[in-house]
Symmetry: C2
Subunit: 150 residues, 2 copies
Amino acid sequence: MSRATVVPVIRELARCYQAFERASDAHIRRMGLTPPQFDIVATLGNTPGMAFKELGSRTLITKGTLTGVVDRLAARGLVERAASPDDGRSTIVRLTAEGERVFREVFEPHLAFLAPAVESLPECGRKDLEKRLRQLREALEKRSDELARQ
Amino acid sequence: MSRATVVPVIRELARCYQAFERASDAHIRRMGLTPPQFDIVATLGNTPGMAFKELGSRTLITKGTLTGVVDRLAARGLVERAASPDDGRSTIVRLTAEGERVFREVFEPHLAFLAPAVESLPECGRKDLEKRLRQLREALEKRSDELARQ
DNA sequence: TATTGTTATACTCTATAACTATA
DNA sequence: TATAGTTATAGAGTATAACAATA
């Protein structure tokens, strides 16, 4: 019974996310960013900046990779590094004025682009979906923990 | 109102998929495959093989990339190319005996690994989730079409 | 002319591990 | 010793476009 139960849910999750990703990535690339770059700009938007460590844990980008992605964004003038006042080992990453501009220019229109799809679900359907996705996520996180513990 | 509606659903979708991906990728890598490679092996499993074109459309890997991924799997002896009997331009990709073995060794255990997470949802919750995800996916696919048409 | 798959280019991301400087 | 970030390495995936063979 396990297989017949698991496959449909996982397949719909993957297909739905891929549909989101495809719509989203195409829109993001038209605005001249890669998906990880957008992820970082979106994470830094409306914040005073944050340490590499926190940025990495929020975006799920590992530290070695993050240095490279941040380098490329910095080279384009969208983010900048600053020394942490609290910890001499730590570096803060934050949006530049240009980065803020891109954030505003890119993030809200991106939501507006996605909105018609989300709003096509009935109100109760959205709430359901959020709740079920949260439950499944928590259960999946437990599986990751199990695996890591082996 | 649009932003407050859209963000939570999209965030839960992304977080849930990322939790899946993280659990799944770690498990797949332990078995010596990359995620796109697993995707191909899983797609070819229990089929007589299929043309590049179909394989690409099922896995969402574009043709230029697919040649490279298939090359690496072929170099490891997991898949092989064969001329299409129907169309001289077309190439069939199929699992080798070794590829079939890896499929069996990898796919079912992978489902078994994920099963506890999915089965932690109540029966009705799984059905709900599948239905809502399907609705959202269809709406997102329409957004992609809109974008492509511009 | 259109389509299938390959090749070529250039780049981004990825995992991993060694390294530095601070704590 | 442990942690934060950088550097180095090697490889995998990506977009894109030009190309050969076939339809």
